[in-house]
């Protein structure tokens, strides 16, 4: 598989065409919302996380952008909601994801931890696209910090 096909795996194109957890859930007492933007291309995302103490009970989002940024948001929401992650686990997840994406192709994301998002491993070879893939993850970090 060449680098381009590794970047645009089928799974990524699928998620970007059928984004999961798209459409913001209603704001709740224990939700935090984050708006993030990539200033170069104008891509943007709004992500809302709802918590119950340390447990994350819901993640939803809205936005527009390239297939990488959309797929990444969709995969992240899937992962957090499906696994019912708690905050520390989510923080660890974001850190691990960031590290792999900045690794210039030396760290692969493993499927056990990252689920569908593991398909984003190929992005790390494209330094200009790391920001696209990170957008939702940064938004989650920020939204969790705001949610009480």
């Amino acid at each position: 598989m060449n680098d381009l096909d590794a970047l645009y795996r089928e799974l990524i194109l699928d998620h970007s065409k059928n984004p999961q957890h798209f459409g913001l859930a209603a704001e709740g007492e224990h939700s935090g919302t984050s708006y993030q933007k990539n200033p170069v291309c104008g891509d943007e995302i709004t992500l809302r996380a709802t918590v119950d103490g340390e447990t994350i009970t819901d993640v939803s989002w809205e936005g527009r952008g390239c297939s990488i940024s959309q797929a990444s948001a969709s995969m992240l929401a899937d992962l957090v909601v499906a696994d019912g992650l708690d905050r520390p686990a989510a923080r660890e997840l974001v850190d691990g994801f960031r590290e792999a994406l900045r690794s210039r192709g030396t760290i692969e994301l493993d499927e056990d931890t990252f689920g569908d998002a593991a398909a984003l491993s190929g992005v790390s070879k494209f330094s200009a696209r790391v920001k696209c893939a990170m957008l939702a993850w940064v938004a989650l970090e920020d939204a969790l910090a705001k949610a009480s």
Partner: protein, 429 residues
């Protein structure tokens, strides 16, 4: 001039490419097809050599020393000024060195801001803005010719207004005639938009501004590398351009000014080499252009800039314009035939430079650009620092291919072939 005329002797881009070593690079296993010259151009060996020769044989502080090397450096630096000024038809003392077009536009906006709070000479008062005065710009500007005016308006209480564009990318001159009124003090506009590539009716805008006594400020970033310019002949008051888009170095640009306007403008940056007398409490300033050149100037880049305009002149601006017009026409024909491609600013019967921006239905610009990049084709994706213009077209980003004198018909054909593959690759029918 008509649309893409091939009146001048054709230029041989293949021969020119030998002067640009980077064009021989391989990218992702393909030969580099560089179609991002509107962002920054490549630089010929002659420019690199000129700067290096200066730095290894004559480098020394200019306008400050009496020793032989300093005198030599000063002479070369002032020769460079004369060369760059001459390139736009101006006299040397009408050319102020800047660090680039963005700095040039900020210089003008801040200097007018300074006049507005009473700084400068008595003559500066004519440039002062008061609350309610109007600054007119257009809806198609690069952020560099928009945000400095927003900030100046905010600082002075002036009102910022925008000449609208039509769907086809042309400026609405009827609306301009209404917008530009006796309240208008400044009219700022781009000669060529870096998104649309259309040569704007700047003579008409200047005439409208002159009728009401407004100062005209022209962004010539995207025209100076591609069209013959005669700024004094055009009658514009102030104009800016950047060397790095003109096959020249980074770190230097030019501000052209009419003599009386430059003389009325208060200083912007202050510091060394722009003063006559300084005490601990006040300073008096030199006449233009030195008044605007505080501190050590970008001497090496200026020497390189002169080599760049000499290079462009040797090829011939008419030839460059004709060649790029031919490439633009070929691009447009090809792109119009590809399903799902929407060209931005596809007005008929207008003069153009060699660039096109477009939207690919169903595929984000970033993804489209990535596909081209995989084939060694460098284009730009994003809003190209013209976000409001993209909003107007209902998009946040587009793909832009921009040609220069060193691009070939093969470059365009490879680009078109790659664009044909975009929607199929992403499964958009």
């Amino acid at each position: 001039m008509s649309t893409s005329p091939v009146t001048a002797a054709p230029l041989d881009p293949v021969a020119l490419r030998a002067d640009f070593p980077i064009l021989g690079e391989q990218v992702n296993g393909h030969r580099l097809v560089y179609l991002d010259s509107a962002a920054t151009s490549q630089k010929p060996t002659a420019v690199l050599d000129a700067e290096r020769a200066f730095l290894t044989h004559a480098n020394s502080a200019v306008h400050r020393g009496a020793h032989t090397l300093a005198a030599e450096a000063t002479d070369l630096f002032e020769d460079a000024r004369a060369a760059v000024a001459g390139f736009v038809g101006a006299a040397p003392q009408q050319l102020v060195w800047t660090s680039g077009a963005t700095m040039g536009l900020n210089l003008v906006a801040y200097a007018i801001g300074n006049a507005s709070v009473g700084r400068g000479a008595p003559a500066s008062a004519r440039l002062a803005l008061a609350p309610g005065d109007e600054i007119v710009t257009t809806a198609i500007e690069h952020h560099a010719n928009l945000i400095p005016w927003q900030e100046l308006a905010a600082r002075t209480g002036a009102v910022l207004r925008h000449i609208p564009a039509r769907d086809d990318g042309t400026l609405d001159l009827d609306a301009a005639a209404t917008l530009i009124s006796p309240r208008t003090r400044i009219v700022a506009f781009t000669h060529v938009s870096n998104v649309l590539g259309i040569v704007n009716p700047v003579a008409e805008l200047i005439a409208l501004a002159q009728q009401v006594g407004a100062v005209t400020v022209m962004d010539a970033c995207q025209s100076a590398p591609h069209l013959p310019l005669d700024l004094p002949g055009l009658g514009v008051d102030l104009a800016v351009f950047s060397a790095h888009k003109m096959v020249g170095p980074y770190g230097v640009g030019g501000l052209y000014g009419r003599t009386d306007v430059l003389e009325a403008l208060p200083p912007f940056l202050t510091g060394g080499s722009m003063i006559t007398t300084v005490t601990l409490d006040s300073a008096e300033y030199l006449p233009p252009p030195q008044r605007f050149e505080a501190g050590t100037q970008p001497v090496g880049p200026a020497i390189g800039f002169a080599a760049a305009v000499r290079y462009l002149d040797a090829v011939g601006l008419e030839n460059i314009h004709a060649h790029e017009g031919m490439l633009a026409a070929r691009m447009a024909e090809g792109l119009r035939d590809i399903p799902g491609i929407r060209l931005l600013g596809d007005a008929a019967g207008v003069e153009r430079v060699g660039l096109w921006s477009f939207d690919v239905d169903g595929v984000h610009a970033h993804d489209a650009g990535q596909l081209l990049d995989a084939r060694g084709i460098a284009v730009r994706v994003g809003h190209h620092c013209a976000a409001p213009l993209h909003s107007r077209y209902g998009i946040t980003a587009s793909v832009r291919a921009s040609a220069a004198l060193y691009n070939t018909v093969d470059d365009v054909d490879e680009f078109l072939d790659a664009v044909r593959g975009i929607r199929p690759y992403f499964g958009v029918e």
